[in-house]
Symmetry: C2
Amino acid sequence: MRVLGVDPGLTRCGVGVVEGVAGRPLTMLGVGVVRTPADAELSHRLLAVEEGIEQWLDEHRPEFVAVERVFSQHNVRTVMGTAQASAVAMLCAARRGIPVALHTPSEVKAAVTGTGRADKAQVGAMVTRLLRLAAPPRPADAADALALAICHIWRAPAQNRLQQAVARHTLNATKGRTA
Amino acid sequence: MRVLGVDPGLTRCGVGVVEGVAGRPLTMLGVGVVRTPADAELSHRLLAVEEGIEQWLDEHRPEFVAVERVFSQHNVRTVMGTAQASAVAMLCAARRGIPVALHTPSEVKAAVTGTGRADKAQVGAMVTRLLRLAAPPRPADAADALALAICHIWRAPAQNRLQQAVARHTLNATKGRTA
């Protein structure tokens, strides 16, 4: 199973691709950050996020996209941009018929460290160990994107197969409607 | 000047096209609502909003897209969906090099009624009068989309021309980078 994890953001959108199945060693296929200039217009920043995500989808052809679920109780100044960047990532996946899963930050932390209250350093350390990397991925957004992908691989593999079938069916139905 | 106004939302996304210039009678070219089923997956709802907005852009070829600026202090349950729907509308416009303007609800109310604290009925009544319609557009989201377009036509025409030039320039620069 190949998963693109996306830690959404306008200034830094973390992206990471992990391949593997639950119970076996995992492989990192790529990690990075899509950046957009803070002084650009919002619509152009969203366009730049789209171009970045499209490149990652083109290059790695993931079977699932796992996106961090955004909560509105977070920092009010940044949450709107985060929600909008996550919308772009979900849209790019949906357009290709790739199923999208949302995981909360505590689900991700609990999956990779055993506790939902782990800090950034702990998540980075576990991602490094689980993917057998030489050093923790930088910046933290990149490590978080890998943690999201790992979380997705480890949670409910049966559910993933079902979701994939549903996404394919929905895309075909959508195509039929607009054709 | 032809403007597509978008009152963003996942369940009902209001859209309205108005043509005219400040100081002259305005013409409504179209009004409607893009709806997505509340029980569909978020990524598929965003895809449906994209398809809807694309159809309106194809049909009316607006020179500007005016989107309601979303504030996080609004209803916490719906604000994330509103922010995400607005991201899709902005992205569709930016992809075509159409400049996007954001107007706050009070700017829109003040523009069409003279007060930033006008209620829905007052906005609907003024939209009906300004566009010489037989009856107020329904639902309210459709009327709000028209009010956004009117607000945009009336605010800073000189600024609009500048923004249009910048948007064209940015799109060309973006195209050059990804080519």
